[in-house]
């Protein structure tokens, strides 16, 4: 099929093949490793939650005490302890944390332990399935409204204030509420506990905060007569655990990027690439839509010059996601409108870019991010920039539209800033709802040429990444102008090469349930 942009289908195919090679080698690398966070995530799936009296999460305690067992996987020794003591996962974790029992190595060979662990895995997976069917029932009954889904951020630092803002936003038309996470959480190697009332730059992503907001949005959904999705982060050092909490607490979207932590948080690449495979597996099973973070590239690099790096990264994120069992509808590839608004033809270039992403990834709910870099504190100008953004978004049929705020770059939005943004966005999108269906682009014109040019440059980049490998590309600073080495960054000490007897029955079962391809060859 020839699209509106007359893109070279041969080039797109080459990009997909190259990205798939990259994804395959990343997953081969990740498949040989586990991390402390993957093991903790496994314990969470077994039902371990809460912290000890010093505030350290029980899952951290257990993994610390049994750190020598991490290469073989924590689950079999843990299952054996449960069997031996006849207690549930939570009680067992407490007993280990208190030093009453110790995990030992003789679990790996025992057939009865393996059978019991398989039974526990089935229970854990059933828990995820139950959340999925609840969501599906609600979506079936209530629907969720037209796309692009209007996505609004709340970020007061107090989850209970966030609930108030979220409900006002839902009344004004918001379809997705994202709760911003405290700035430094991505670097914590544990998931904090409890509700947050005084966070910096957001609230902690905790199981308790997830529950508070999920309950509030369920109430709001009922009142509004449409299902409102909840979004948080599966990123940072605890990426796998966050994905698990999202899957069991019915989050519908999670920010999850293969490269973001490496580039922008200086997290070690071995750690993140291993963690993201597990987190995507869980998200795949949990019916979660992941949101990738390519928009961030343009906050450090120039949006006109570096547009192709966004596309190249989208191909890689897509390939990794598909190999991890996510369906295209679950892959919310990120991109952003970050060109300088005073550039002549900015709207033309941005439309080309947005439309290009749409044509190349027709079944992915692209997540389109608003202007941030060139927002100035002039709220009136900002409101107009956001209106242009909404116009491009609706014309190019984006899936998830993160609302621009006129107070971007100033402070967390005031309650009316969000309502004004929703009203303006709905007005623009309503007014231009079918505009995109009614136009075609001049053959060989500016829009077609721009899209073709970006695709050509992306093809070149991604083929070179496939040749040299992703580690090399990251080291050379191909993405976002940031350079990272394989041994540098945070969290490397939490990465372990799997022993030959490594076992994680939950992971194995999840892989059977989704179309996990991992590093296997294409048939």
């Amino acid at each position: 099929m020839k699209g509106m942009l007359d893109l070279d289908l041969e080039q797109i195919l080459r990009c997909r093949k190259a990205a798939d090679l990259v994804a395959k080698s990343v997953l081969a690398f990740a498949g040989e490793r586990t991390t402390v966070s993957i093991e903790r995530a496994t314990l969470r799936l077994l039902g371990v939650e809460g912290a000890d009296d010093t505030g350290v999460p029980l899952v951290n305690r257990v993994v610390e005490k049994a750190i020598h067992l991490v290469p073989g996987g924590i689950m079999l020794p843990f299952a054996k302890a449960m069997m031996d003591t006849g207690s549930n996962a939570q009680e067992t974790a407490l007993a280990i944390s208190n030093g009453q029992i110790e995990l030992c190595e003789d679990a790996y060979q025992s057939k009865t332990v393996i059978d019991y662990a398989d039974h526990l895995a089935a229970e854990a997976v059933a828990r995820i399935h139950k959340t999925v069917s609840t969501r599906n029932e609600l979506l079936e009954r209530l629907g969720e409204g037209q796309r692009p889904l209007l996505y609004v951020i709340v970020a007061s630092g107090n989850i209970f204030e966030d609930v108030v803002s979220a409900k006002v936003c839902v009344d004004a038309g918001a379809q997705v509420i994202a709760v911003i996470r405290s700035t430094a959480q991505s670097l914590l190697d544990y998931v904090p506990e409890g509700t947050t009332t005084e966070g910096y730059g957001g609230t902690y992503a905790t199981q308790a905060n997830f529950r508070v907001m999920r309950q509030a949005l369920d109430e709001a959904s009922k009142e509004a007569g449409r299902y409102v999705r909840l979004c948080n982060y599966a990123s940072g050092l605890c990426m796998p655990e966050m994905a698990v909490l999202g899957a069991v607490e019915r989050l519908d979207m999670m920010l999850n990027d293969a490269l973001y932590g490496i580039l922008f948080r200086d997290i070690n690449m071995q750690r993140t690439l291993t963690d993201q495979a597990f987190s995507r597996l869980v998200s795949a099973a949990g019916g979660i839509i992941i949101n990738t973070g390519e928009d961030n590239y343009l906050t450090t690099a120039d949006a006109v010059e570096s547009a192709h790096t966004v596309l190249a990264s989208q191909f890689i994120n897509e390939a990794l996601a598909l190999r991890c069992g996510l369906k295209p509808w679950q892959i919310g590839l990120g991109h952003a409108m970050e060109m300088d608004p005073d550039t002549e033809d900015m709207l033309v270039l941005e439309l080309a870019q947005a439309k290009m992403a749409r044509e190349i990834f027709p079944d992915c709910p692209l997540k389109y991010m608003p202007p941030t870099k060139h927002m100035t504190g002039d709220i009136f100008k900002g409101h107009v920039q956001d209106a242009l953004f909404s116009l491009v978004s609706v014309m190019s049929d984006q899936g998830i539209h993160l609302l621009g705020m006129m107070t971007e770059a100033m402070h967390t939005p005031h309650i009316h800033d969000r309502v004004l943004a929703l009203q303006a966005t709905r007005m623009v999108m309503g007014a231009a709802r079918h505009l995109g269906d009614e136009i075609s682009f001049v053959p060989g014109g500016r829009i077609q040429k721009r899209a073709q040019e970006v695709l050509a440059k992306a093809t070149e980049l991604i083929c070179s990444v496939a040749d040299g490998g992703i580690f090399n590309a990251l080291e050379k600073g191909h993405f976002a102008d940031v350079s990272r080495g394989p041994e540098s960054g945070r969290g490397l000490e939490g990465v372990y090469v799997k022993a030959a007897w490594y076992s994680n029955p939950i992971e194995d079962l999840l892989k059977k349930q989704v179309e996990w391809r991992g590093a296997s060859n294409n048939e």
Binding site: G157, V164, K167, V168, D171, A172, S182, T183, A184, S186, L187, Y200, G201, F264, R265, D266, T299, T300, A301, D302, T372, K373, T376, G377, A409, M410, T412, H414, I415, H416, V419, D481, V482
Partner: protein, 258 residues
């Protein structure tokens, strides 16, 4: 926006520099616009409350031009009113940075001639702040608004440590690299955490006995030169500051101290 000292003398015709009022369309009409929400549902009483809120601000004749119920017990207002208390403009004095900003070539040339070696600059987003857009604009090779960042200057040896750098690490690296200048960016600021964070770094530098030798500069949307001086910094750069402004200041200041 960058202003010059001479701008202070410029004003519209017939303005009394000792009594300056906001301007709508007629001199001294005092007209201002305000918008805000109240945590009460929209009602005639709520609209009256919005008017009285403006009167509390010192506005005369407040007119509520727009009001809307936001649901869940909130309402929103756009109000215009007249301010009657003027400011004595003539008496205002604001500390400022250097008047003239040199160009890329001038700066490099000046360092080469007057210092005879490269200036070592280290930059970071400190504390929990993960937003590197400011420090990147100033330091990255590509720079910002068509101006090259410090990494591109042949006469600067620029080290950008990125985001979430603890003050201790920044200081340690500064000592290791024998930095001539430290640039700190603070973007996300909640409950004024950026201020204590910045002050802490200045104190630590002082405690190491390096304060005299190292030029200390901060920047961010809620930073200005005056705040920077109060915090013990040599200069502060607000939103919209360009790489050459920073480079110019750092070069002159390092040269001056040697």
């Amino acid at each position: 926006m960058n202003s010059k000292q001479s701008d202070k003398a410029k004003m519209a015709p017939n303005v009394d520099p000792h009594a300056v009022l906001p301007y709508g369309d007629t001199l001294n009409d005092g007209l201002v616009q305000v918008s805000f929400s109240l945590p009460v549902a929209l009602s005639p009483e709520a609209t009256e409350a919005a008017k009285r809120t403006c009167i509390q601000m010192g506005l005369k004749e407040p007119s509520v031009y727009h009001q809307a119920d936001l649901g869940h017990g909130f309402s929103y207002y756009i109000v215009y009113g007249k301010l009657t208390k003027p400011v004595d403009f003539a008496r205002i004095v604001v500390p400022k940075l250097q008047e003239t900003v040199a160009s890329f070539d001038e700066i490099n040339d000046r360092i080469k001639r007057k210092l005879g070696r490269r200036i070592v600059v280290i930059g970071a987003c400190t504390g929990s702040d993960a937003h590197t857009v400011g420090i990147d604009a100033i330091m990255n090779m590509k720079g910002y608004k068509g101006e090259y960042g410090l990494e591109r200057y042949p006469q600067f040896e620029a080290h950008n440590l990125g985001s979430q750098v603890p003050n201790e690490v920044l200081l340690r690296r500064a000592i290791e690299l024998k930095a001539d200048a430290i640039l700190v960016s603070q973007i996300v600021t909640q409950k004024d955490v950026h201020l204590s964070n910045l002050a802490e770094l200045a104190d630590m530098l002082e405690a190491q006995g390096l304060r005299e030798r190292v030029v200390l500069v901060c920047g961010g949307p809620r930073i200005n030169h005056e705040i920077a001086l109060e915090l013990g910094y040599d200069a502060g750069f607000g939103a919209g500051s360009s790489p050459t402004q920073v480079a110019s200041f750092v070069a002159d200041e390092v040269i001056r101290r040697h």
